[in-house]
C-alpha cells in the first residue's frame, strides 16, 4: 500500500497519460496503430521543443510569451531565405541562431535591465509578429520545400523507421535533460528560481544564468519553426500565434511551478504527450469540437490537481 502511494506520488501525471491511452484505445483501437503513434509524436514535436525551452525559463521564475512569435518569424525567415536561393542547411543554421539572438534580446532585458519577464516577452511578442508581417508583407511563403531536399526530409523523412521530428524532439530532450539534471549550470537554474539572493551569495552569476534560459527558449522555438515550415512546406505570416499557451500548459501539467525553482523536465515530456494524445485521441474517437474544448480543459485541471497532491 505504502509502495503504491510512493509510486503514485512520483508518477501522478504518468498515470493520467496511461489512463488516457487506455480509455481512447478501448473506444477506438485505431488509436494504437504504429502509424498513429508515430503521427502523434510527429505532431507533438513542435509544442514539445517549445515546452522544453519554456521549462528552463519557468524554472528561473520567468516566463517567455514570445516563443510563438519567434517560431513564426524564424519560419518566415527560413522560407524567404530558401525561396531566395540560400542552401537549406545554411538557412536552417541561420534561423536557429536568429532564434537564439531574439532570446538573447529577451534575456538581456529581463536579466540585465531587470524588467518583468511577462511584460518584456509580451512586448517582444508583438514586435516579432510585426517584423514577420513586415518582411513577408503578410503573404505566406509557399512551396518552400519543393527544391529544398534536406528541409523536406526533416518532416517527411524517417530514420530507423521513426519520423525525423520525433527524433529531433527526443534528442533535444536528452540534451536538455543532461544540461538541467547533471551540470553546474542546471543547478544554477534551480538555485536562481528558488531564491535569487541566495544564489547570488553562493557566487552563481544570476545574470548569465537567467539570460541563457531565454537564449535556449528562443533557439528551441526557432527549431520548432523549422519543423513546422517543413511540415507545411510553407511559412504562414501568422504561424505560431497562441503556441506559447500550449507550451506553458505542458510545463505546468508536468509539475513545474510557475513560481520557479521547482519542477522536472521529464514532467514536461509527459505534459506534452498528454496534450498531444488528447488532441489526437479526441479526433480519433470523433468527439465534436465544442465538447473537445471542455474535455481538454478538464483533463488539464485533473492533471494539475493530481500533481499538487503528489508533490506534497
Amino acid at each position: 500500500m505504502a509502495k503504491a502511494r510512493a509510486i503514485y506520488d512520483k508518477y501522478g501525471t504518468v498515470i493520467v497519460l496511461l489512463l488516457l491511452v487506455i480509455i481512447i484505445s478501448v473506444m477506438n483501437p485505431k488509436f494504437l496503430t504504429t502509424y498513429n503513434i508515430l503521427n502523434i509524436f510527429r505532431q507533438v514535436s513542435i509544442n514539445g521543443l517549445i515546452a522544453l525551452g519554456m521549462t528552463f525559463v519557468i524554472l528561473t521564475g520567468g516566463i517567455d510569451l514570445s516563443v510563438g512569435a519567434i517560431l513564426g518569424l524564424s519560419g518566415m525567415v527560413l522560407g524567404l531565405l530558401i525561396l531566395g536561393g540560400t542552401p537549406d542547411v545554411i538557412a536552417i543554421i541561420i534561423v536557429i541562431l536568429l532564434g537564439a539572438g531574439l532570446g538573447l534580446f529577451n534575456g538581456f532585458l529581463v536579466a540585465k535591465i531587470k524588467l518583468q519577464a511577462f511584460i518584456v516577452t509580451l512586448a517582444t511578442m508583438t514586435m516579432f509578429q510585426g517584423i514577420t508581417l513586415i518582411i513577408s508583407d503578410g503573404i505566406p511563403a509557399m512551396g518552400v520545400t519543393t527544391n529544398a531536399k534536406f528541409l523536406d526530409f526533416i518532416s517527411q523523412g524517417k530514420l530507423l523507421g521513426l519520423p525525423l521530428p520525433m527524433i529531433i524532439f527526443l534528442v533535444a530532450f536528452i540534451v536538455l535533460y543532461i544540461l538541467i539534471e547533471k551540470t553546474v549550470y542546471g543547478r544554477g537554474v534551480y538555485a536562481v528560481g528558488g531564491n535569487e539572493e541566495v544564489a547570488r551569495l553562493s557566487s552563481i552569476s544570476t545574470i548569465k544564468t537567467k539570460t541563457l534560459v531565454y537564449v535556449i527558449s528562443g533557439a528551441m522555438a526557432a527549431l520548432a519553426g523549422v519543423i513546422l515550415t517543413s511540415r507545411l512546406s510553407s511559412a504562414q505570416p501568422t504561424a505560431g500565434a497562441g503556441y506559447e499557451l500550449d507550451a506553458i500548459a505542458a510545463v505546468v501539467i508536468g509539475g513545474t511551478s510557475l513560481a520557479g525553482g521547482r519542477g522536472r523536465i521529464f514532467g514536461t515530456l509527459i505534459g506534452v504527450l498528454i496534450i498531444g494524445v488528447l488532441n489526437n485521441g479526441l479526433n480519433i474517437i470523433g468527439v465534436s469540437s465544442f465538447y473537445q474544448q471542455v474535455i481538454k480543459g478538464l483533463v488539464i485541471l485533473i492533471a494539475v490537481i493530481l500533481d499538487r497532491k503528489s508533490s506534497r
Partner: protein, 308 residues
Amino acid sequence: MKKLYSLFMVAVLMVFLVACNSEGSSGEGDKKLALLMADLGNPFFHVLRDAVKEQAESLGYEVIVYDGQNDASKQPSQVEDALQKGVSAIVINPGDEDSTANALKEAIAQGIPVVTVDRKVNIDGILSYLVTDNTKGGELTGEWLANKLPEGGNVVHIEGVMGTAPQRERGGGFLSVIDPAQNSDSKFTILDTVVGDFSMAPAEAAMSDLLAKHDDIDAVFAQNDTMAVGVVRAIETAGRDKDGIIVIGFDGAQEAYDLIEEGKMSVTAVQDFKFIGKEAVNYVDAFLKDGTKPEPEMLVDVYMSDSK
C-alpha cells in the same frame, strides 16, 4: 544606465516612425478614399485591397489604406483618423459587426458614403454591404461534388473558426446538399467533421489524425483554401497521395490554383474579390457624383474553378 537604454529605444522608435511615414499614400488629388481592412495578414484580402486601390485611383481618388491587424478594437480609431484627414468616402472590411458602429455613425452624419465589404456593421445609413454569398457558395461546392461522384462516397468536412458567419454559411450550404440527414437524395456519408480554424497548421494536424482513423476517404471539403493546402500536405506526408482523395477548397487563393495546376487539389470556390472591390468603389463614386443609391445589400456569387 536604464535612462540611457530608454533614450536609445526612443531614438530607435523615432527612426522607425520616420521610415514608416515616408511610405506615404499613392495618387494625387483632393478626393480621398479610406480603405480599412480587417487583417492584411491574410494574403487573400490583398486581392480586395488591390482591386479597391486600382479602381479608386483610376477614378482620381487618393487611397489611404489602414490595416486592422486582426484586432477589431483598432478599427474605430482608424475611422476617426480617416475623418480627421477629410476623406470623402469610406470602404471598410470590418473586423466584427459592432466595434466600428459609433465611429461610422459620425462619418454617416457628415454625409460620407460608407460601404462595408465581407461583413456587416450593425447601424443604419450604410450605403451598401457587399459580400460573397457563402451559403450559395457552399451549395455550389456540394453540387460540384455530387456531379463529380454521382455514386456518392465518404466525405470529411474541415470547418473554419467555429461561430463565425463564413463557417456557418459555407458549412450549412455544403451540408444541405451532401448530408443525407438534410438531403434524402444524397448518396454521401459524412465520416467526420473537424475544426481547422481557417488556418493551415491545425487543418494539417486534424487531417493527419483522420488519415490514421479512416482508410476510405473519398473527398475532403475544407472551408477555405489555406486549410485545403494543409489537407493536401497531410495526405502527402501520410503517403496517401495515390488514394485519389478529392480535395475541395474555398476562396480562390493563389496557393489553391497552384495545387490544382499540379493535380494535388481538385477545385476551389472562388470569391470574386476583384469584382467586389471594384463595385464598392463604383458605389461610393456614383453616390458622390449624383446621389445614386445602390442596393443596400449585394450578394456576390462564387464560381467553381477546377481548370488545370
